[in-house]
Symmetry: D4
Subunit: 161 residues, 8 copies
């Protein structure tokens, strides 16, 4: 079974990025997290990606803020699907990270989720692995159904309110 | 072997969206294209997604402009990975489509590529299928190497200028 | 007499969306509120809209944030007038919701009000019903006059201040 | 039967704004068009709105560009529903007109459609009148069905292509 | 001697707009303040502007937020110079008010200052009156010199720090 | 009688900036035009402003694009009213010039008009001079009335269509 | 040995701008700080730049907010490299300062760093001086290595966590 | 004497990036140009930067569009000063490239110039080398004087018009 590797550019990204792991844990998908900066530790990024390719990693999630290059730098080193999480930080509030993550040149895509959308990065990684894993697909459907039920319960509560 | 389904919201999106199919054809990935509007033919979207789930579709690509809902509407109906292509059109030049595609709520991700990035949507779909297909992964690596070679050739030409 | 149906994408939208109901209550316009997510409960949205069409609903108000699809998803299912309320949430502060709500394709309009403008959605819904209800139109004119008087009172206070 | 009044801030807005009238003509809704500038002919705006209120006008459509005040100026003078069409013009390409039209203060809503969305303004006006006109509602449903059929035909063509 | 009239769209604008009066008081320029909403009290705006034209008013300052129409509405009713102060409020943080204030159509200018720049509106009003008032021009130069001195003192402090 | 000095940062700004002079010529206001760059000829800017202060200049108009500093640089050297015209140029289409012109610090205002709004800069300059020149005020009112008449004529034409 | 001169437009910029000096102190690069406003003390800016040119200054760092002209004003007076730090302040949160700093006209560049990126301005100034100073280059490499080590330590901690 | 290395992400960037070399040629500064993509040829970027560090390169200029990572990727591999040129391309017109280039994390600055500002990148590179090269500084001052003279000539022409 394939694993998901979660990378983040800085320790300060952990409170948001940890949500990706929480989702994957809940779905029973193996997941590891680490820190690697595209600009401060570029060689570490290369080594990690090489180890992921050699290893049992199926999807890489990379979160970074500002001139968010991490997901793109990873994507340039692998043909594994790379999910980018633009992180809001500083004055421009994530618009910079969103554009720096999503506007990738032809040939090297990054599957970008919403600003601070780490939980959805976890869901998307699971969806990718579930293309060939019917048990996981079933778990995702169940999760979706539970989420729908939560909406229904809240609706009921409001209507009866 | 899994197939990729390419959807677009309007016939006018074809010149851009066709690039996704061109990439997939080049990689030997089966791919079908159709038109379906989240707002003008919502039932058709539901039927198509249901048929994709029942069928051999592994990844869905959805391109739309303006208040681009197609990818999100599809994503709300399946746990297959959905790739969104925001299309530039009208006065706001794709910023509207980008935000309407990428800013999905928790639980229902859309893997968003660049504005008008249909070619990269094709590459990303192939990368997702290649997680469990080493032959396809090899083809993707070859494509990447050729792209690198093109850059090198152009660089040589410029340097020898 | 027609009723207004207020929908919101999530329970967390209630503090803002409730203002629409407050306005309609004040004008004596029947109004119900519920929660339905375009992405997490798409079938519920369809059922609700169908029930509104069959029922005595004259106007639908839909509020959502981020890639705000709710109003558009509703509008694609009915020819009742649909008022969209873009809700500010997350890093991009409502610009995403505004563009995702207002930039609808030809044939399927959403009557969009300001970001977080739920109170005005209530006023607009009443104005729509008042096209054929002179009593309600009179109440709206009275409300407008009172609002003008409040401005005048504050002006007097400031000038005498 | 109620009529729709289409106003525009300048003669140069006619090529876009005429689409509202085309839609309404197609739906058999009476519609008149005129030019009135909130800044260059403010008294004319007041007189027109007063005549609309006295007359058989049910909905007002107002299109303007740049610091687009026309719809808001009209809305401040009537409790008829006012639909605003932000028009793209000049360097900022409609973002100025969109924000100046949609961000109305509490109590005085403008039902805003997409930038250059005059056709949808026509549809929305008809939807508002159709709340109490089942024949018109039927015509709107027929128009929607035809639009869906066009999508289906194009889809068929592409699939058979 | 001419007077400056300061208008604001809402009582909540007072904490910012009062800075215009503070500046004018400090320069010995007569100044009155009042509240008038372009949308909620449009007739009051007309009456005030007419009274300003008949009276000894030389410059009008108008501050408003969101779809900030006040300055433009005033400018459409007078050939007195009108200074617009876009006020930050709500989710879009003043970008809406800035564009709605500054992007006026040909023939009806609004002299726009920075977002929340009420103090500078006061300075600009005084500069306009000082074109024909050498005493006031002298006071403005003195104010400028004092402001320069403050910078120099702070610089000295920092350098000696 | 006071004169208006029109400055522009580059020869390429002439086609837009000339409209300021055209308006002033039409109103019989003396007006001179010149080129001076805040960055390429900063000393020339200082000399020009000094000569304007010594001379019969009542208002300065300054137009520049991109990091548009000209109006601000002039404003820092005089207490004459300075009107800034942000010019659209290059990729960012005038948003850069608008923000660089309007967002001046406290104490040094620039009266900013719309992007490429040189004609309105001319009108505003005349309005400022007209505060103490009833003949010019009369001419401005006549111009406003003619502009209104043009709108009325176009409206008549459209209505009679 | 060359010195770095750090300028800021206002005393309130000190908490951010001081980080440039902290970095340079840590690298053993002589550095002085002062306050000078392009708009409130333009002559002081000229005198300071002239003294820097005559003196042992190798690089100038200039930080300012809003219509941030300081770096550009300095750059127009010297051929020394000028580093601009756009500072976030007020409603527009640094986008205004970024565009006003970076979009300089041809011939007069400002080396712009991130919004509030004063620390990086210090690093960049040192990098410029290190082009001809191998000892300083070595210190910069050491600093970079330490920063990489910090990332590695945090990564270890998280992985072992 | 040090050389400037100009890198660009794609052959299509040449028409803009060539202006950097033209400026440097005019100033007598040795300059080489090549193509290297951060995403398509990441190893080539590493090799080039290593060779630049070993060689006589004093400044690196890197131009790229969209999610413009090239300058940042280079900056993460060297302590040489790196100048970034954001290139306008595609729907978002350079705002993406600007933010992706300038918003670098602490410790790894990129000296960013205007969108499409390749000529200024050449000037800035020369200014950096001129810190320790009085002959080059003199040439830069001469260039600046000529540029000022051009403005003066154009001004004369306009004034004599």
């Amino acid at each position: 079974v394939k694993r998901v590797a979660v990378m983040m550019g800085s320790e300060s990204d952990l409170p948001v990025m940890r949500k990706a792991k929480d989702v994957l844990d809940g779905l029973g998908v193996p997941c590891t997290m680490t820190i690697a900066s595209a600009h401060r530790t570029p060689d570490r990024v290369i080594e990690l990606v090489a180890s992921y390719e050699a290893d049992d990693v199926g999807v890489i999630i990379a979160g970074a803020g500002a001139a968010a290059h991490l997901a793109g730098a990873v994507a340039g080193r692998t043909v594994l699907p790379v999910i980018g999480v633009p992180l809001a930080s500083g004055a421009l509030q994530g618009l910079d990270a969103l554009l720096a993550t999503v506007q990738m040149p032809s040939g090297v895509p990054v599957a970008t989720v919403a600003v601070d959308g780490a939980a959805n990065a976890g869901v998307l990684a699971a969806q990718i692995l579930a293309v060939h894993d019917t048990t996981l697909a079933e778990r995702l459907r169940k999760r979706r159904a539970e989420s729908a039920q939560t909406v229904l319960d809240k609706a009921r509560e409001l209507e009866d309110g």
